[in-house]
Symmetry: C2
Protein backbone atom coordinates (compact mmCIF):
# COMPACT_ATOMS: atom_id res chain seq x y z
CA UNK A 1 0.00 0.00 0.00
CA UNK A 2 1.65 3.17 -1.16
CA UNK A 3 1.74 6.12 1.25
CA UNK A 4 -1.16 8.08 -0.18
CA UNK A 5 -4.21 9.88 1.16
CA UNK A 6 -6.32 10.86 -1.84
CA UNK A 7 -9.47 12.05 -0.12
CA UNK A 8 -10.81 12.71 3.37
CA UNK A 9 -14.48 12.05 4.04
CA UNK A 10 -16.03 13.84 7.00
CA UNK A 11 -19.33 12.38 8.13
CA UNK A 12 -21.75 15.21 8.91
CA UNK A 13 -25.05 15.52 10.70
CA UNK A 14 -26.10 18.51 8.60
CA UNK A 15 -24.71 18.56 5.07
CA UNK A 16 -26.37 21.83 4.10
CA UNK A 17 -24.81 23.60 7.08
CA UNK A 18 -21.37 22.16 6.28
CA UNK A 19 -21.57 23.24 2.63
CA UNK A 20 -22.77 26.69 3.67
CA UNK A 21 -19.73 27.07 5.91
CA UNK A 22 -17.10 25.95 3.39
CA UNK A 23 -18.65 27.23 0.17
CA UNK A 24 -20.43 30.42 1.24
CA UNK A 25 -18.51 31.24 4.39
CA UNK A 26 -14.96 30.42 3.31
CA UNK A 27 -15.55 30.83 -0.42
CA UNK A 28 -14.30 27.39 -1.47
CA UNK A 29 -15.36 26.31 -4.95
CA UNK A 30 -17.77 23.38 -4.71
CA UNK A 31 -16.85 20.64 -7.17
CA UNK A 32 -19.33 19.78 -9.89
CA UNK A 33 -18.98 16.17 -8.76
CA UNK A 34 -21.08 17.08 -5.72
CA UNK A 35 -24.69 15.94 -5.50
CA UNK A 36 -26.91 18.41 -3.69
CA UNK A 37 -28.32 16.97 -0.50
CA UNK A 38 -26.12 13.88 -0.83
CA UNK A 39 -22.40 14.57 -0.97
CA UNK A 40 -20.09 17.56 -1.40
CA UNK A 41 -16.53 17.60 -2.70
CA UNK A 42 -13.92 20.33 -2.40
CA UNK A 43 -10.47 20.18 -3.99
CA UNK A 44 -8.13 21.11 -1.15
CA UNK A 45 -4.61 21.32 -2.56
CA UNK A 46 -3.11 17.87 -2.87
CA UNK A 47 -6.19 16.15 -1.50
CA UNK A 48 -9.97 16.26 -1.67
CA UNK A 49 -12.29 16.99 1.24
CA UNK A 50 -15.65 15.25 1.01
CA UNK A 51 -18.73 15.72 3.19
CA UNK A 52 -21.21 12.90 3.43
CA UNK A 53 -23.92 11.97 5.90
CA UNK A 54 -22.51 10.46 9.07
CA UNK A 55 -24.97 7.56 8.91
CA UNK A 56 -24.28 6.91 5.22
CA UNK A 57 -20.54 6.70 5.89
CA UNK A 58 -21.03 4.36 8.83
CA UNK A 59 -23.31 2.15 6.77
CA UNK A 60 -20.89 2.08 3.83
CA UNK A 61 -18.02 1.15 6.15
CA UNK A 62 -20.19 -1.36 8.01
CA UNK A 63 -19.53 0.29 11.38
CA UNK A 64 -22.04 1.07 14.12
CA UNK A 65 -22.50 4.84 13.88
CA UNK A 66 -23.19 5.05 17.63
CA UNK A 67 -20.27 2.84 18.65
CA UNK A 68 -17.12 4.19 20.20
CA UNK A 69 -15.03 2.83 17.32
CA UNK A 70 -16.65 5.16 14.79
CA UNK A 71 -14.79 8.46 14.67
CA UNK A 72 -17.11 9.63 11.87
CA UNK A 73 -14.54 10.18 9.15
CA UNK A 74 -12.51 8.09 6.75
CA UNK A 75 -9.29 8.55 4.85
CA UNK A 76 -9.38 7.29 1.29
CA UNK A 77 -6.65 5.56 -0.64
CA UNK A 78 -7.61 5.59 -4.30
CA UNK A 79 -5.98 3.05 -6.60
CA UNK A 80 -5.46 3.08 -10.36
CA UNK A 81 -6.65 -0.45 -11.12
CA UNK A 82 -9.78 -2.22 -9.93
CA UNK A 83 -7.93 -5.32 -8.70
CA UNK A 84 -5.79 -3.21 -6.40
CA UNK A 85 -8.75 -2.63 -4.09
CA UNK A 86 -8.59 -6.26 -3.07
CA UNK A 87 -4.81 -6.53 -2.95
CA UNK A 88 -4.43 -3.38 -0.84
CA UNK A 89 -7.03 -4.62 1.64
CA UNK A 90 -5.16 -7.94 1.88
CA UNK A 91 -1.90 -6.13 2.46
CA UNK A 92 -3.46 -4.01 5.22
CA UNK A 93 -4.77 -7.13 6.94
CA UNK A 94 -1.31 -8.70 6.77
CA UNK A 95 0.02 -5.58 8.48
CA UNK A 96 -2.53 -5.88 11.30
CA UNK A 97 -5.59 -4.01 10.05
CA UNK A 98 -9.18 -5.21 10.45
CA UNK A 99 -11.53 -5.31 7.48
CA UNK A 100 -14.80 -3.61 8.36
CA UNK A 101 -16.34 -4.07 4.92
CA UNK A 102 -15.00 -6.43 2.26
CA UNK A 103 -14.32 -5.12 -1.24
CA UNK A 104 -17.36 -4.97 -3.46
CA UNK A 105 -18.45 -3.37 -6.71
CA UNK A 106 -20.33 -0.13 -6.10
CA UNK A 107 -21.99 2.44 -8.33
CA UNK A 108 -18.76 4.38 -8.89
CA UNK A 109 -16.38 1.43 -9.19
CA UNK A 110 -15.17 -0.74 -6.31
CA UNK A 111 -14.30 -0.12 -2.67
CA UNK A 112 -13.77 -1.65 0.74
CA UNK A 113 -12.83 -0.46 4.23
CA UNK A 114 -10.30 -1.36 6.86
CA UNK A 115 -9.62 -0.02 10.36
CA UNK A 116 -6.04 0.61 11.46
CA UNK A 117 -4.94 -0.54 14.94
CA UNK A 118 -6.35 2.65 16.49
CA UNK A 119 -9.68 2.09 14.76
CA UNK A 120 -9.23 4.80 12.13
CA UNK A 121 -11.08 3.98 8.95
CA UNK A 122 -9.52 3.77 5.52
CA UNK A 123 -11.54 3.39 2.37
CA UNK A 124 -9.67 1.70 -0.47
CA UNK A 125 -11.35 2.82 -3.66
CA UNK A 126 -11.17 2.47 -7.40
CA UNK A 127 -13.17 5.28 -8.98
CA UNK A 128 -12.47 5.86 -12.68
CA UNK A 129 -14.47 9.11 -12.55
CA UNK A 130 -11.84 10.52 -10.16
CA UNK A 131 -8.69 9.51 -12.04
CA UNK A 132 -5.45 9.09 -10.15
CA UNK A 133 -2.59 11.26 -11.38
CA UNK A 134 1.03 10.22 -11.45
CA UNK A 135 1.71 12.40 -8.42
CA UNK A 136 -0.78 10.37 -6.36
CA UNK A 137 -3.53 12.97 -6.27
CA UNK A 138 -6.98 12.51 -7.76
CA UNK A 139 -8.77 14.76 -10.22
CA UNK A 140 -12.36 15.78 -9.73
CA UNK A 141 -14.70 16.61 -12.59
CA UNK A 142 -15.20 20.41 -12.78
Amino acid sequence: MEPRVTLITLGVRDLERAVAFYEDGLGWPLSGASVEGEVAFFKTGGTVLAFWGREALAEDANIDSEGSRFSSFALAHNVAEKEEVDSVLEEAVSAGATITREAQDVFFGRNGYFADPEGYLWEVAWNPSFPLSEDGTISLPD
Copy 2:
Protein backbone atom coordinates in the same frame (compact mmCIF):
# COMPACT_ATOMS: atom_id res chain seq x y z
CA MET B 1 -8.94 30.84 3.77
CA GLU B 2 -7.73 29.01 0.72
CA PRO B 3 -9.06 25.48 0.12
CA ARG B 4 -6.08 23.57 1.43
CA VAL B 5 -5.48 20.58 3.72
CA THR B 6 -1.74 20.38 4.29
CA LEU B 7 -1.62 17.76 7.03
CA ILE B 8 -3.90 15.40 8.91
CA THR B 9 -3.16 14.69 12.56
CA LEU B 10 -4.58 11.49 13.99
CA GLY B 11 -4.62 11.39 17.77
CA VAL B 12 -3.51 7.95 18.93
CA ARG B 13 -3.63 6.03 22.20
CA ASP B 14 -0.53 3.99 21.29
CA LEU B 15 1.98 5.77 19.07
CA GLU B 16 4.40 2.87 18.90
CA ARG B 17 1.65 0.54 17.65
CA ALA B 18 0.54 3.07 15.03
CA VAL B 19 4.09 3.57 13.74
CA ALA B 20 4.63 -0.19 13.65
CA PHE B 21 1.54 -0.58 11.49
CA TYR B 22 2.33 2.15 8.97
CA GLU B 23 6.12 1.93 8.88
CA ASP B 24 6.80 -1.78 9.42
CA GLY B 25 3.51 -3.24 8.28
CA LEU B 26 2.75 -1.10 5.25
CA GLY B 27 6.34 -0.11 4.54
CA TRP B 28 5.77 3.64 4.56
CA PRO B 29 8.95 5.73 4.94
CA LEU B 30 8.93 7.49 8.30
CA SER B 31 9.92 11.14 7.94
CA GLY B 32 13.06 12.32 9.68
CA ALA B 33 10.93 15.09 11.16
CA SER B 34 9.43 12.47 13.47
CA VAL B 35 10.40 12.37 17.13
CA GLU B 36 10.43 8.88 18.56
CA GLY B 37 7.84 8.44 21.28
CA GLU B 38 6.37 11.87 20.53
CA VAL B 39 5.15 12.35 16.98
CA ALA B 40 5.40 10.56 13.64
CA PHE B 41 5.06 12.05 10.16
CA PHE B 42 4.50 10.28 6.88
CA LYS B 43 4.42 12.02 3.49
CA THR B 44 1.24 10.70 1.87
CA GLY B 45 1.07 12.04 -1.66
CA GLY B 46 -0.26 15.59 -1.63
CA THR B 47 -0.63 15.69 2.12
CA VAL B 48 1.11 14.60 5.32
CA LEU B 49 -0.26 12.14 7.84
CA ALA B 50 0.84 12.81 11.41
CA PHE B 51 0.36 10.66 14.51
CA TRP B 52 0.38 12.32 17.87
CA GLY B 53 -0.90 11.38 21.31
CA ARG B 54 -4.65 11.78 21.59
CA GLU B 55 -4.30 13.68 24.86
CA ALA B 56 -1.57 15.95 23.49
CA LEU B 57 -3.74 16.90 20.53
CA ALA B 58 -6.75 17.59 22.74
CA GLU B 59 -4.62 19.73 25.04
CA ASP B 60 -3.09 21.66 22.13
CA ALA B 61 -6.55 22.31 20.67
CA ASN B 62 -7.97 23.13 24.11
CA ILE B 63 -10.72 20.51 23.79
CA ASP B 64 -11.84 18.01 26.44
CA SER B 65 -10.40 14.71 25.22
CA GLU B 66 -13.30 12.81 26.78
CA GLY B 67 -15.99 15.11 25.46
CA SER B 68 -18.27 14.18 22.58
CA ARG B 69 -17.02 17.13 20.53
CA PHE B 70 -13.50 15.68 20.26
CA SER B 71 -13.24 13.38 17.28
CA SER B 72 -9.53 12.87 18.03
CA PHE B 73 -8.08 14.20 14.81
CA ALA B 74 -7.41 17.57 13.23
CA LEU B 75 -6.97 18.84 9.71
CA ALA B 76 -4.18 21.36 9.30
CA HIS B 77 -4.11 24.41 7.10
CA ASN B 78 -0.53 25.63 6.88
CA VAL B 79 0.10 29.21 5.86
CA ALA B 80 3.15 30.86 4.33
CA GLU B 81 3.31 33.91 6.61
CA LYS B 82 3.08 34.12 10.39
CA GLU B 83 0.39 36.82 10.38
CA GLU B 84 -1.90 34.64 8.30
CA VAL B 85 -2.52 32.36 11.29
CA ASP B 86 -4.49 35.15 12.92
CA SER B 87 -6.22 36.37 9.78
CA VAL B 88 -7.34 32.88 8.75
CA LEU B 89 -8.76 32.23 12.22
CA GLU B 90 -10.65 35.53 12.02
CA GLU B 91 -11.99 34.62 8.61
CA ALA B 92 -13.16 31.23 9.88
CA VAL B 93 -14.98 32.87 12.78
CA SER B 94 -16.70 35.26 10.38
CA ALA B 95 -17.87 32.22 8.42
CA GLY B 96 -19.34 30.63 11.56
CA ALA B 97 -16.48 28.66 13.10
CA THR B 98 -15.68 28.55 16.81
CA ILE B 99 -12.17 29.20 18.07
CA THR B 100 -11.11 26.45 20.45
CA ARG B 101 -7.62 27.85 21.01
CA GLU B 102 -6.51 31.33 20.06
CA ALA B 103 -3.40 31.82 17.95
CA GLN B 104 -0.17 31.75 19.90
CA ASP B 105 3.54 31.40 19.28
CA VAL B 106 4.70 27.81 19.75
CA PHE B 107 8.04 26.03 19.51
CA PHE B 108 7.71 25.45 15.76
CA GLY B 109 6.17 28.81 14.83
CA ARG B 110 2.57 29.84 15.48
CA ASN B 111 -0.78 28.06 15.48
CA GLY B 112 -4.38 28.15 16.61
CA TYR B 113 -7.46 25.96 16.28
CA PHE B 114 -11.04 26.35 15.20
CA ALA B 115 -13.98 23.95 15.04
CA ASP B 116 -16.24 23.94 12.00
CA PRO B 117 -20.04 23.84 12.49
CA GLU B 118 -19.92 20.03 12.85
CA GLY B 119 -17.19 20.31 15.48
CA TYR B 120 -14.35 19.13 13.23
CA LEU B 121 -11.04 20.63 14.29
CA TRP B 122 -8.77 22.67 12.04
CA GLU B 123 -5.30 23.71 13.06
CA VAL B 124 -4.08 26.85 11.33
CA ALA B 125 -0.30 26.72 11.44
CA TRP B 126 2.76 28.61 10.38
CA ASN B 127 5.74 26.27 10.51
CA PRO B 128 8.83 27.47 8.63
CA SER B 129 10.42 24.03 9.06
CA PHE B 130 7.66 22.55 6.88
CA PRO B 131 7.71 25.07 4.03
CA LEU B 132 4.61 25.56 1.93
CA SER B 133 5.11 24.98 -1.78
CA GLU B 134 3.39 26.91 -4.53
CA ASP B 135 1.07 23.96 -5.16
CA GLY B 136 -0.26 24.20 -1.59
CA THR B 137 1.54 21.14 -0.24
CA ILE B 138 4.10 21.19 2.54
CA SER B 139 7.60 19.75 2.47
CA LEU B 140 8.95 17.66 5.32
CA PRO B 141 12.62 17.48 6.18
CA ASP B 142 14.05 14.11 5.00
